[in-house]
Amino acid sequence: MSGSPIRALIKPLASLRLTVALLACSIFLIFAGTWAQIDMGIWTTLGTYFRAFFVWIPFRIFLPRHWDVPGGIPFPGGWVIGGLLMINLVTAHAVRFRYNRKRAGILLIHFGLILLLVGELVTGLKAHESRMSIDEGQTVDFAEDTRSVELVIIDPSDPARDWVVAIPESRLHQGKLIHDTRLPFDVQVEAYFHNAELFEGAQDVATSAATPVANSGFAVELGAHARPRPPSSGVDQDEIDLPAAYVSVLKDGRNLGTYLAALYFTLVPRFGLQDVQVGDKTYRMALRYVRHYKPYSISLLDFKHDRYLGTETPRNFSSHIRLVDPTHNENREVLIYMNNPLRYRGETFYQASFKQGDGGTVLQVVRNPGWLLPYVACTVGALGMMLQFGTHLLRFIRRTRTA
């Protein structure tokens, strides 16, 4: 292979200097990503810094915010650094390492590392997390993705089931007209706030001419308005973004009303869905967490929040549930508690949280096709280390005996 053009091409990629440079870059990226969480939520940071090809790192994230220093530097994101590290490792094996029994340990360790990188790639692109929130005695057949919202238009005219058209958050840009044959009407996005606060009263509206005014729905009924708020950051514990959108409903080019759709309305049980009257037909609309309906249902039979005797310190949370899946003839009771999740149909249900007054449970539902890879990677790496250090130890003992 020596002298081949491919080898000449990949040799720089296999360089140890590149390895060191990439490791240094990843340390800096993690450092910057950590500081960035003062202003951004952990998932936004993850998406912007680590699960990205390139990132713009503003200088001000390292400095007191009120200095307001402009500028920044472009920097390779997590995908680029991780991808190059993997290429670096693979090409190093291709051009530099020689294979023999003595090096089997190193080979296994590196293979474990590659698996770890692939595992993160699969997790980053394919893993999906959602939440199932169930009251005691309630049966739920959907999970919610609490990191993204969608605007749903529901046609309730079928007495048996609702027909739902869901517009993802990525389509809700200010000024955008959403025309789609699946929608019963056109939707004009007048404004979209990724995080908003609702307030009542008209005096504030006058000061903000850019904010549209709703003339239909909850906003009118409550005298409520929305205004943008900075996104919640990674250092604010327990804070969530509450998106809101002003949308106009258009039918045959005629504006039938501007509504304020807000996640807040969805989270407060009193509100729920708002009616949208189009001619004789009443549709329902809401801005809510993205829902994923399941072919099975989970009923919460009992939720337990055990505390250490005489204290408020939690000892254990557990959810006693019934899983019913007619398509797979499943009908069984399961106890989910910390470190004992339910694994079913490619998804894992962890005990994540509970509802106010211990009246219900919140299960984290994780679908990660790559969930096994980190375990395999660590096992392979550990085997490699044992082999590598074992070989060295044996060699050392042999030498000592000979001496």
């Binding site: 915010r65 804070e239 807040y264 004789d280």
Partner: protein, 374 residues
């Protein structure tokens, strides 16, 4: 491995990346879903754990013979079917809204727009709406026939606006004029049977709480407890209203209480609100409040004194926002509890709020949470 191994690894990696990144999540989705249950959680008939007392204003009526009744969903309290067998159904919708929506004119003009009519002014109100006394409440009965517009046929509306104590109740039926015409007299007769009541759902009472009778304590007659007052939703708070403070209707769903204080020409308002989460963080809130009384924002919290205060065992924060020359002053207590932040806030004329400082702090210290809700 050699170059052969490499040649197979690179295309394999590229394919893996392509497969993994191939799907887009930006598309509009459609799906059929089970009917939404009424907003309050557990399905009917299932026992709910006794947690919080919820004061609910409700309405009761005598259902005319031949009509059918369906429980409401979402905002709707109930749907009455005037012709249960017919298709499309003739629905009388019963919807409660916040008292802020009680202005008959605004509602009538909204309905007029739906049936292709132009807005009317206050002088024309009597022409389209009739006021009748129903059990001591002034109810507006509305009868309007629209015009054909934008491919919509002519429709007629029969509606009633019934102001309750906590909410305003709308009764509305809309369809073709001939179909509606048969029910004009029956609709009015039905409305005469409607009564506003106050009930606490027994299963939602705190443990050990005696049952309350329907039609019992009216709103705001028990100012110390929201169990009988104007809570638009669940309310785990109790307090004692200081003398001189006047409790009023809370019109916003996030608002648990409204009180006003008047001293000569000076006025102040006290509100208790509740929002999910930490609501923007302390700095953002401080700057928002400063903005409300015309002060410049501060860069960090060191410039704003914050005092610790304990409210019913919860560590809360007390802030006083004022400045020399400002006409207004704010006193705020933030109580982070469970998944919510409670704001107890006094806003008003500088001199009065300064004078009320101790009363306000004492009032805040007296707030306690329903233990069933902890």
């Amino acid at each position: 491995m050699g170059s052969h191994g490499l040649q197979s690894i690179l295309p394999a990696t590229a394919t893996l990346v392509l497969i993994l990144t191939g799907c887009s999540q930006d598309d509009i989705r459609t799906y059929s879903a089970p009917k939404e249950a009424p907003a309050a959680g557990a399905p009917a008939g299932e026992p709910m754990p006794a947690t919080e007392a919820t004061a609910t204003e409700t309405v009761r009526w005598e259902l005319p013979k031949g009509w059918a009744e369906r429980p409401g969903e979402g905002m709707r309290f109930a749907t009455l079917l005037l012709e249960p067998e017919s298709n499309p159904p003739l629905e009388l919708r019963v919807t409660p809204l916040a008292l802020a929506a009680r202005d008959p004119l605004a509602n009538i003009n909204r309905w007029r727009e739906q049936i292709g009519l132009g807005p009317i002014g206050p002088a024309d109100l009597d022409r389209v709406a009739r006021s009748v006394d129903i059990a001591g409440r002034t109810v507006h009965l509305v009868d309007m026939t629209g015009v054909a517009h934008a491919n919509q046929p002519v429709r007629r509306i029969l509606a009633a606006i019934l102001p309750g104590d906590q909410q305003v109740w709308f009764f509305l039926v809309m369809d073709e004029p001939e179909r509606i015409g048969q029910y004009a007299a029956a609709f009015e007769a039905f409305m005469l049977t409607v009564r506003v009541e106050h009930a606490v759902v027994a299963s939602e009472l705190p443990l050990g709480h005696p049952p309350l009778e329907a039609g019992g304590a009216g709103p705001a007659t028990d100012p110390g407890s929201m169990a009988g007052a104007s809570a638009p939703g669940d309310n785990p708070l109790h307090w004692t209203t200081p003398s001189g403070w006047v409790e009023s209707q809370a019109t916003n769903p996030s608002r648990l209480a409204s009180m006003s204080v008047v001293d000569g020409a000076y006025r102040a308002e006290v509100t208790i609100t509740r929002f999910p989460g930490a609501v923007g963080g302390m700095l953002a809130n401080v700057n928002r409040w400063r903005g409300q009384i015309g002060l410049q924002p501060v860069a960090d919290l060191a410039q704003q004194p914050i005092e610790g205060i304990e409210i019913d065992g919860v560590s809360a924060q007390l802030l006083e926002i004022h400045a020399a020359g400002a006409a207004q002053r704010l006193l705020i207590v933030l109580i982070p509890r469970e998944d919510f932040t409670y704001f107890v806030k006094m806003t008003g004329d500088e001199a009065l709020v300064a004078k009320q400082h101790n009363t306000f702090v004492q009032f805040a210290r007296g707030i306690h949470f329903d233990h069933g809700a902890s």
